[in-house]
Every structure is written in C-alpha cells, then in structure tokens.
Amino acid sequence: MSLSANDKATVKAFWAKISPKADDIGNEALSRMLYVYPQTKTYFSHWSDLSPNSAPVRKHGKKIIAGIGLAVEKIDDLFAGLLTLSELHAFQLRVDPANFRILSHNILVVLAMLFPDDFTPEAHLAMDKFLARLALALSDKYR
C-alpha cells in the first residue's frame, strides 16, 4: 500500500499542524501503549518507572516522535532514509515488528484526541498508510 503523491502531501501538511505538540504526542502514545498493551513493557524492563507520563517515558516519547519527524522529511524514500534506524531496531533492539502496529494505533488515537477537527478521515487514511510504511522500512533489515 504505497504512498501516493496526495498521501505524502496530506502527511506533510498534517505534520506541520501537529508538530508544535510533538513531544506531548510522543509521551501520550508511548504511555498508552505501555498501559493498554502491557506486553510492550517487556522491552523496557531496564527503566525505573514505566507508568504513564513518567520521566523515562517522556524522554523516550520525544525520541520516538523525533524519529517519526525524520521519516516525514524522508517520506520520498523511507527505506533509504530510515536505514540506520532499521539496523538499530534489527540488530540491537530487536523489537518484534508486531509492536510497530500497536504503537501506530496509539499514535492515531492520540492524534484524534488532540486534533479532533484536523484528524479527518482523509488525514487518518494518510497517517495510517504512512505509519504502516514507516514500520515496513523500520523492519527492513530484520532478516
């Protein structure tokens, strides 16, 4: 399900609108993922505090959303643009790719909450496709 020119334009426009709240989005999405899907906590057993909005969660949420921002910039060639991140996830982090879908879902929920008027069905469609494509690029180096 590749990204059309329209999809890319929609993602870029929507991202421009939401990026002032990027850190909040990252924190909320990660907090919710850990809370609603407790199996995802297994990747963070080295953190002191896994509760929603905790310091480690906020810090990591920022990192994740920055990665997504990078992907928006590299939207014309996600596989090349996310090569380093893919290698990181494949060889060091080894996060099961099923979890990318879970995080994506939580990002979409948070977008709906924070931007109810802007997160139209068309924006939802473009973001869902984009995040799926991002996940694919991220898991490219796994095997």
Binding site: R32, Y35, V109, A112, M113, P121, E122, H124
Partner: protein
Amino acid sequence: MVVWTDQERACIQDIFSKLNYEDAGPKALQRALIVYPWTQRYFASFGNLYNAEAIMSNPKVAAHGIVVLHGLDRAMKNMDDIKNTYAELSVLHSEKLHVDPDNFRLLADCLTIVIAATMGSSFTADVQAAWQKFLAVVVSALRRQYH
C-alpha cells in the same frame, strides 16, 4: 469467562451514556470505509461509495452505522454474557453476510478513534484500556460462530 472490574464496568457505561449513537455510529463506519477501502466489498448495495465525500453523505452508510452502535449497546447491556448475546449475530455475519472477521477489528479501531476525538482528554489511558477490552470481547464473540 470475562471478568470485569467495577472500574471497567463504570467506564463502559459512562462512555455509552455520553455517546450520541446517531453521530458516532455513522462516523465510525464512514471512517472504516474510507481508511480501509477494501471493507466496501460488503456494501455493494449501498450505492455511491466512490470517494470520501460520497461515503460521508451516503444515507445508507449513516443508517447502518447507527445499527452497528445499537448492536454494541446490547453487548454493553449484557456485559457478563456477550458471547451468548451475540451468538445469532455471529452466525449472521459468518453464514449469511460472509464477512471476514478481520474487518471487525478494523471497524473497532475506527470507533475507538471516533470516541477518542469526541471525548478528548477524558479518554484517559484507563478509559482506553477498558474500552479496548470491551471491543476485544465483542470482536471475539462475533468471531465465535465461524467454522
């Protein structure tokens, strides 16, 4: 047997009490048809689903969205036995409508997003967890009679 905590029950009742079925139902189904266009395969008789505008103004889509939400209302009123409450509905979706059960999850996700948009910050992580558990039970009950 599904075990519901008092807090989960209260959460679900609260969401439904605040929900406008005539608004959320249509919005959720419209989103599913737009975001996951292959779901349109089940609605060939609904007329014009050609683009997002057509889907959002299609009266049959809106009507059916309301039907779906009233179905969920029944599950909410029978939370301790959703499995049996939905036995006939499950047979209907499997034997008569031939719906791939994966679609239930897609519609459920769209409904979650519509509710998140409506409730805003009161859709806390706790509420999301309870709501998604409820939908998971509903989807599981709907899948039960597929053989």
